[in-house]
Subunit: 349 residues, 2 copies
């Protein structure tokens, strides 16, 4: 389809212009064109102008594949995400994260190679990308405890940055948020409001950061002498609701619940309604990964806020560090901070 006209010269040949066409039109050698294009010393200002004019007249852009082949830089980084499609759509996290990545890539005229996959395909995909020379490096997300990707991808020498605590990252550089500190802040806040029975709905237990948060939650509630309980879910509204129901059905139901993302917290608002509990009087709810979603609900949701956009940008920055062989790329990103809204309050006496 799309019957279209082409610019003069390309149309005539029926193919895209190449560096040779440009060289011919400007009356120089291909080398000169390459030099002119990259602003390197070696051609006079006059010639350069002539070359660039010829290039734009022919609508020529250097073929990236050819450039990569000699130049060694493919101007691309890879990201593979393994979560069910439906869930991905709803989670604001990834899109914001990707936006952050792009904000750094754009400045370097690099692009993101994206793949949404099943978890067991990921090693394969990165192998293909790296060994096939499609990417300069990759970003690894959703790290598991003892993640099989770490040894496998280290083995093939993939330059990568891990999004997660260094303890999960093996030999890779990593950028992480201090989840433990954030959990402590959240629990202390609820304790200060007067809550004595506090629960938490976590993400999948296999995820590295779930474990880190769970450990921190256990430690800090013990330290403060709180009654604590954790239910495991998978970030989805469904499982979040179910976990929440189970917690509320227990004989001594908690007066405050912390959720590992905002979707589950939003879903919990509905569950509270089912139980005839009013938020925050009967039940305080505290979300994680604060997105605009938390401000859309009534009551608005208190949340542990996290600048996901900047986080993505920092991770990408770190990846370029790794690619360029810099040392000491790993570093913590800004810690999530508590944004109190209308869903948390002292418990009813």
């Amino acid at each position: 389809m799309c019957h279209v006209r082409r610019t003069d010269a390309t149309a005539a040949r029926g193919r895209k212009a190449t560096i040779k066409d440009v060289a011919a039109r400007a009356g120089v050698s291909p080398s000169a064109v390459s030099i002119a294009l990259h602003d390197k010393p070696g051609v006079s200002a006059l010639t350069k102008e002539r070359i660039l004019r010829a290039a734009s007249e022919l609508g020529w852009r250097p073929n990236q594949a050819a450039a990569s082949l000699s130049g060694r830089n493919v101007h691309t980084v890879g990201l593979a995400i393994a979560r069910p499609a439906r869930m991905l759509g709803l989670e604001p996290f990834y899109m914001e994260f990707i936006s952050g990545i792009e904000s750094v890539l754009g400045r370097r005229s690099c692009s993101l190679l994206l793949r949404l996959i099943e978890a067991d395909e990921e090693i394969q995909v990165h192998r293909e990308w790296w060994q096939g020379g499609r990417v300069n490096g990759s970003i690894l997300v959703d790290l598991l405890v003892d993640d099989p990707r770490i040894p496998a991808l280290a083995e093939i020498g993939l330059p990568a940055v891990v999004v997660g605590h260094p303890s999960l990252a093996g030999p890779f550089a990593s950028v992480w948020t201090d989840d433990a500190a954030a959990v402590v802040e959240a629990v202390r806040y609820l304790a200060a409001l007067g809550h004595r029975r506090v629960a938490r709905v976590s993400g999948p237990a296999a995820l590295g950061h779930s474990v880190i948060r769970t450990d921190a939650f256990t430690a800090v509630t013990r330290e403060l002498g709180l009654e604590a309980r954790t239910a495991v879910a998978d970030f989805s509204a469904d499982q979040g609701s179910r976990a929440c129901r189970n917690l509320l059905l227990a004989p001594d139901r908690p007066t405050a619940i912390i959720f590992d993302n905002d979707i589950m917290a939003v879903a919990a608002l509905g569950v509270a309604g089912e139980f005839g509990l009013s938020v925050p009087e009967d039940l305080s709810l505290l979300a994680w990964d604060d997105s605009q979603l938390c401000q859309l609900t009534r009551p608005t949701l208190s949340a542990m806020q996290h600048d996901v956009f900047s986080f993505g940008a920092e991770v990408t920055h770190a990846l370029f560090g790794v690619i360029n062989g810099e040392e000491h790329v790993s570093h913590p990103a800004q810690s999530p901070s508590l944004i109190p809204r209308a869903s948390t309050a002292p418990p009813r006496r």
Copy 2:
């Protein structure tokens, strides 16, 4: 910096294995390796096995850049999205759409080249991608009325599929949902419930589908003799709320409002609360682009449902059609259909 071990041979040479290394190890010529890899006739079963073993021992994958350079297929399609980062995060639409795209790409071991950009960069990005040989084709979204991308990208011969009505697509193939029919269905439904004053909060007026929906809305409300009003917003919660407030402040406020996406509809629930109006008794709300979001709120939101995942898949399918030079690729996708939930009901007398 990921100090890592490499597989034997690559470590020794300090670089990735190439087809020559594989050929040498298997004791054949590079051509034979290429033939074996692609399952083409020309090598004996025995040799082939030897070659594949050598390849896997060296961890070799064909370099995509080199393959593209001769083979002409870059196994990549492009997608550039121009919306502010924050908004993208919240809109479930794009992630689901991308998931759908991926579901088709994955089967063909193609990848998606993604860029989040400012609107005025888009032509430039596609030029770069296409003329630089980075993509085999692109998907164009968020079509405007008289979109400048259409002539510009047709001119350079980019194979592309437009997401939107053919009237917006110029010479390009397109895949679209019948928005006009959906608007009619929505309005008829509200009219059948007994609503006589119906309003609509649209997306940006420059968007092609906003215009199509607005025209349909105007036509059908006139036909049914309803009092109709349209307010323009930009899909964001903020502007959605504001538009909703303006509608509700009018002397004869509407008893039902249709929104062009679900974010704005969710935001409107809050606004209704501000005004002391209960949904759906005092005010019916109908969302568009039904995502799980609509089921998370209380009351749940009635919505025009739209299988965005399949839509993405169909568009991608069509793009492959265009790339392969097939005719008659354009076609409508499934029309959105009404999912009545708790936010719509007959108006209070």
